[in-house]
Symmetry: C2
Amino acid sequence: MKEYIVHHEWKVIEDGFHPDYNRVSESLFSLGNGHTGQRANFEEKYSGDSLPGNYVAGVYYPDKTLVGWWKNGYPEYFAKILNAANWIGIRVEIEGEELDLATARVHAFRRELDMKDALLTRSFTAELPSGKQVEVLARRFLSMKDKALGAIRYNIKSLNFSAPVKITSFIDGDVKNEDSNYDEKFWMELEKKASDQEAYLLMETKKSGFHVCHGIGTRLLKNGKNLSAAGPKVDREKYLANTFVVNLQEGEELLIEKFAAINSSLYISRNELMSETEKSVQKAMAAGFDQLFAEHSKCWEEKWEAADIRIEGDVAAQQGIRFNIFQLMQTYTGDDERLNIGPKGFTGEKYGGVTYWDTEAYCLPFFLGTAPQRVAQNLLIYRHKHLQKAIENAQKLGFENGAALYPMVTINGEECHNEWEITFEEIHRNGAIAYAIYNYINYTGDREYLAPYGFEVLLALSRFWAQRVNWSDVKQAYVILGVTGPNEYENNVNNNFHTNNMAVWTLKYTLEVIDYLKKEQPYLWEELVNKWKFNEVQETTNWKEIIENMYFPYDKELDIYLQQDGFLDKEIIPAAHLNPTERPINQHWSWDRILRSCYIKQADTLQSLYWFQEDYDTETLRRHFDFYEPITVHESSLSSCIHAILAARIGREEKAYEMYLRTARLDLDDYNNDTEDGLHITSMGGTWMAFVEAFGGIRVVNGQLHLNPFLPKSWKGYAFRLNFRDSHLEISMANELTIINHHPGTLTLSIWGEEHILNGNHKLEVEIKQTL
Amino acid sequence: MKEYIVHHEWKVIEDGFHPDYNRVSESLFSLGNGHTGQRANFEEKYSGDSLPGNYVAGVYYPDKTLVGWWKNGYPEYFAKILNAANWIGIRVEIEGEELDLATARVHAFRRELDMKDALLTRSFTAELPSGKQVEVLARRFLSMKDKALGAIRYNIKSLNFSAPVKITSFIDGDVKNEDSNYDEKFWMELEKKASDQEAYLLMETKKSGFHVCHGIGTRLLKNGKNLSAAGPKVDREKYLANTFVVNLQEGEELLIEKFAAINSSLYISRNELMSETEKSVQKAMAAGFDQLFAEHSKCWEEKWEAADIRIEGDVAAQQGIRFNIFQLMQTYTGDDERLNIGPKGFTGEKYGGVTYWDTEAYCLPFFLGTAPQRVAQNLLIYRHKHLQKAIENAQKLGFENGAALYPMVTINGEECHNEWEITFEEIHRNGAIAYAIYNYINYTGDREYLAPYGFEVLLALSRFWAQRVNWSDVKQAYVILGVTGPNEYENNVNNNFHTNNMAVWTLKYTLEVIDYLKKEQPYLWEELVNKWKFNEVQETTNWKEIIENMYFPYDKELDIYLQQDGFLDKEIIPAAHLNPTERPINQHWSWDRILRSCYIKQADTLQSLYWFQEDYDTETLRRHFDFYEPITVHESSLSSCIHAILAARIGREEKAYEMYLRTARLDLDDYNNDTEDGLHITSMGGTWMAFVEAFGGIRVVNGQLHLNPFLPKSWKGYAFRLNFRDSHLEISMANELTIINHHPGTLTLSIWGEEHILNGNHKLEVEIKQTL
């Protein structure tokens, strides 16, 4: 845990230089606009510890799998988001001596990320080994308006010398991934060109054949005047630079403006990439930093208007929630259904792949609640586009008749993970994908989604479950053997409650969807039946048989569902009794010890109870919570959010608050000592859920919005925004509960169990009932 | 499956050149003498497919672990037996054109391995691209008398040319392992020297620091006369050669004799390695090929006298059993307790490490039955020497108080494997190590072994089991969670019958041993108690509590022990119903599918019933066999032997014979299509067990030898040899059963349930009762 980040409502601030935490800061101050993103590396040379990171959405490399012992069915390649060309580079040499914060004496260092308008600012004075002192102010953003653009304004002032200064502004495509399995580089140069102020580099990724063009335009100003000080261009393999030489007098300031355009073949055909990039750079040069920033800033204003959460009386919590929301908005903008939300977003390499079930389970609610409907929809369509590959994946594992198993980790629909207990066995991910369809429709009411997209996925998932169960003579029931549940501290178990539950629920929901389609869209339905060779009678009869006869592990005495068969054979000892020096256990215990212990990495049985909480009375939820929560070690970042929500639901205010805090400042305080690898982006969706569902008590039941808010004792008030169907709500809790509907539609909603009608553009004030 | 090896009683024969099977032949024709061994690579250049292999016993390299996803507790290094210098090389150039069977036209090729005296012979005529024809006869052996020596006699005759012939006789230490994880080379040159006829190369292994000196001496003879035709020496890094140039007339024959000495720092100190190797080479040169071979041959005669098995009326079976015995004798001679029996012996690289539980479970009986007592004892002492490391290994996994977990795979006592489900969970290996102590003492009567060695190991194993169990409130019994049994097609299961059984048995046996030591060796006992801080009352009370209350999965209806908890939840479908195109399933099914199927890789519950067969009546064994055998796919080479023995025990002659055949010619016919990687050495011990225990019906019960032999229908007769305590028996089955005791001691033994007394140097003839 580190606590060097200054608390501030809107900003992330590093005050004073922390070179030891440089990788952590590089993660925390990352920028992104959904199409490109980058770690907060320095513009000028830095010879200290750093993880260079520039990422272009959807551009990946299938790295050859690294494995100790091969298992039949493993994928041969492991797609990774590539570290792409570094375009921010501005080398500063003063009389041949280079500015490098690792060798200079640094004073008054301050790094700020203003979340309001996504501007990264860095200021410092540096004394070079020769004694020359400079003052630097660097500002940078990735345009949220024009997603291809980035801009830098870099001021450098001489404090105590008069000397020639050489500026080298470059694109460097000769980069590699730190996590390259075999230490290969993944990029090839195709074409490049440069003029005095501009440089363009067109590259291709090996194997995957993506084309990416980086263009930069650089200009220098002194005393407000454009300088034409172009020196020689530098041209190496995968590298181009413009150089400028300027005489700087003591007290004078040089201003460097650098504009970049980054275009990929996802959006522009290879032949036009160079010329389009040129146009972009030249347009940006013409518009200038201030105008580009004003446009960018306006986009962020709109985003915050839709998604901000305010907390009164707790700056740390305020900063935490905004940081989570900010990073989610930087990572995914929802305008391209080929993209998704990587566990590290654009902030690091770790985990490779992009899409885990995290998206469906933890991120979808945020985008449902804060973004236009098509954004959440695109997250679902992403999976629909991968349906054929998910069917092929299941075939590889022995399934047939159009059964689909979605990959555990993927970029393009192909599996990117190779631990058998996860790749092959963590099949509950199929359940999360089905649940997301239900969740989307329940929230938006958009049943039109079913015929063209939703049903096809549900059918393939149901076919998977129907083949994945087997009949147990001993139990006289259907069982699901050999799975890993969400709690990855159990492997290859039988009858994981959550997995069995998701199987049955998926079959039931698919049957409901079929009823709906048959009734409401009979012609489309007939097409679907033919397209998928759906033997309705036979298949649905089988499904009903499974629904009726599924086995769920259950203990009579405790009156709870068991996480899996045999769970109570374990010694049940509360995690509080663990030796603190042995935590987190995954860094201290061998895997077998973890597996045979009772300790739970993240909500598993509780994940099901959370999703289907209307099916259980509070007493039942409480019994399960009281059994499972004490043995849960939350060593997944995705655990606390579910616990916060359930704790609130059963009236445990303090536990809810404790669990919420664990997730909200996870990265800002580097809770797990791994923020250097990148931010926990998908867990940030969980933070939002925890806020809105635990404190706001938001649920959508049968299409109706329910609120059951409470105000944690240590806060004076809070307010959050929510899209719900035709309404856009601003919900404030302080001395009373206020709900403003900023849209014109009328909404019927349930507050603390009572129905209220809120007209469009009206405000509702409700006296607070302390329900917890 | 390949069937190109000619059937012969004493020889392995390849008739005609099979370059496609060259790697298979290189494995099958391997030579070894327990201290060094080599694949049957060619002396002259061969540019076709080949796996070069020369191995020096006990000389290993800790290669950095290759792993996809690291788990806490994995070993950082994976010790591998190194491919060592190639000393057999004899390059043949005729007027600058090199002899290479991959580019020449080859006629009359024949490769023979005479198992009687371990001589490899290869003969062929080859037409070079220029049209020149040569006839070659090459013979080679690794001396069983002087384990440092190898010798080659290489005759080459001109059939149709007169020309200068250049012979290059070399040592090449610039070799690598094909299974090197990171493509590194493992050897460094230290020192070398050469004279006209000799060359010496002293090398060191990286990291592990072993020193190995290779020396060669070469001489040429023409028409029976020594030639002094030395050409220039060749000296490159890790490489030395003597060259010779001779004019050969049409019809003339050149004879090359090459002698090698291979010494390692296991036996000779670094400073003396070079000089001792020189002495060896010069002694060998003085003695000559014929004398060395005569001495070598005599050693093999003695070995066969102790261990031969004859089968009348079935040449394939005769060749098969002799091949198994021959390779076991080549691999392990038992004179050094630091050595052990690798799964591939000296015949290939695969699997790295050396020692698996295979040694205790499948190889020990062979050495007990055919070699001097110290040989089997040294196999046990090997583990005793590793006790401290096994204790440290257990500590790494969270155990304390001197509990030991022996590695799954090891060379020097450290774990060499990194799949969690095996490394951490296949703990029944501890049971096999305990059983081997019992087996050795039961067979030899050598209870003196207990105080200095046996008890210490048993104590550490018992301490392990006592900590590895936990109390289940639900079952009101002790359980063992999260294990992998011998059947590796199940991972991380609970209450594997065999594992639970071995745990309880080990505790019981340790208690017996304690009783014995307290009574018979009270002073030594006191020392042991102090040395190991053994709290006898507390620890043994706990053990007894566990013995009394261990849980065993059992099905009432079937009246059988279940392989593990929940086994009957699986669909039980006989393996005979499997689609033949999907077998072996481990090459066609994904791992999850294998895991949730009922199919068994190798005997698991049956392994326990085999070991403790006196504890069960025949009907019980039959019930278990009839349940488990049909769902066993024998995809481990260690499966059939146990099934053969149990089949015989329950009167299934045909099944016993079928299972025996599966194991006996496994490599000769390349049954599993993997002989190219090396031979299945440890499974050869299983073949011997299957013969002696299934057909001979040999058991030792309470120290008494029991015979229950039967003659398979297709054989005319068989005979085998057996050491048993003071006796050396020759047991023949044909029209009657004859037992000759070649030693002077008197033996009381049970034959078909009746007691007989056999005096020393006497013969016993017994009328055959068909008991099956």
